[in-house]
Amino acid sequence: MNQYQEIARQGLWQNNPGLVQLLGLCPLLATSSTLTNALGLGLATVLVLMSTNFVVSLIRHQVPNEIRIPVFVMVIAAVVTAIEQLMHAYTYALYQSLGIFIPLIVTNCIVIGRAEAFASKNAILPATVDGLMMGLGFTAVLASLGAVREVLGQGTLFDGADALLGSWATVLRVELYQSDSHFLLAILPPGAFLVLGCLIAAKNAIDLRQKKKQQQVKTITRARVTHSAGAESAAGGN
């Protein structure tokens, strides 16, 4: 497995910021009431992560160790401000519905966390790929949370997608069921906690099952190494 595959595996599954590191829970829970909002914030975070990782990696030799954190925060703040202005200009409806959570990406622990833990120690390309993969992992969790909550709460998917993708996207809106009484709890914050808990439990269950499978495979290979000739020559070779 080469370096980039490993980075992708870490970001998307093994060390997923939303499910394993549990970083950035505040935007994760607050903006995932609909799939559109979740995707919007997720994509903004991907952009921020890639850009900050790129810049931080670029300047990593020039920044004195003692003041690296303030410098990283400055870089992040600058990038987030730029992204916020872009969203203000091009996706105004989404900008309004996400509100304070766009500028708050500055305080998202994933961004400073990746800058400190990865980008400041690695070359530009791996750092940027790491930003992309961590961001995509975060977006995936955000989007699945948003999808589950939107279906439970309103019975729709991609409601208001035109705010993110332009007017053609109204065709994406899917109405799964029509109900007089919406399940309000799914849209309210407690629903986010409950659904996130279920997602984490599901990930842990999948990991556990894989581990069990690998262990079974291992015991079989070990049982084969019984005859002395091959084993001895291997030992001598070492």
Binding site: S181, H182, F183, L184, L185, A186, L188, P190, L194
Partner: protein, 359 residues
Amino acid sequence: MSFRIASSPHNHSQQQTHVLMRKVVLACIPGIAAQCYFFGFGVLLQLLLAISTALASEALILYWRGKPVLVRLKDNSALLTAVLLAVAIPPFAPWWIIVLGTAFAIIVVKQLYGGLGHNLFNPAMAAYVLLLVSFPQQMTSWLPPQSLQAQQQHVLDPVCTVFTNFSCAGYSMTQLKTDADGMTMATPLDTLKTDLAAGRTVTESQQHKIFAAIGGIGWNWVNLAFLAGGLWLLQQKIIQWRIPAALLGSLALCSLLAYLIDADRNGSPLFHLFSGGTMLAAFFIATDPVSASTTERGRLIYGALIGLLIFLIRRFGGYPDAVAFAVMLANLAVPLIDYYTRPRTYGHRPNSHKHKGVH
């Protein structure tokens, strides 16, 4: 014969969990009967739905968790949760309300936290909050007492309404809630809250027919019946006096103070004690041994806290009744209360930890 060697304590109470739970369920019977008398047989249908859902979801989760299903089902705790939720929700609420609520109570609030004895919150009340927050309209549609209803209730009306939203004669919930004079009826607490918000005084609000008795027609008897059941539980030593006494005392004190300060804008203490879910909360819900405080002083604090919260939310909050919210908030405080009210270890002097440095 074989001699069983057991460790201490050798002299223990014979009250086993399933007996305890069964007695609490039995003590609900007077309250349920009073509800049937005043509000119709809807509560029995809700009980049926709740109990079957509770047992089914409990069995399902126990099977998934690889626990002995039948043994755990027989401890009656799921039964009790179902009964408490069923008496708390409006008797004519649609069937999916109670099914969803009971399943949530058992699966999420009780079993996901580790099963009986591990749940942080009272399952019935957590489910009630879920339902009230999610479906406010269905959860506040209490019918007026039968004596005030414009339409004569048919025996099968609960079945029709719960499953189709319309009574057998085809009346909708809104029509059923209307009295003979064409006024929409709400619960006494709800009526008082709406009137106070509209700037009327308590005396003006109590011109409504529903206030013909302290606590409101029907509601006073339902509360008295739960009080009777609770007193029987006390006599049977299933529950202790501390939590109910502290809860009722603190609610009475708070409402008395408010009533003395401004009688125009506060219901009387008796109104607070005998309306809504006060007695049910005091004797059946707050005394849940798992989610309540376990120390003697802690129980007094816990009960008083619930009483205070009930008063505050009823008086200043957005919801007419507050039992479920108050109990859940107090449940959150239980670890803290227990930590600061740990009883003195036998043989240690009071405050002995302060002298540790000397020895």
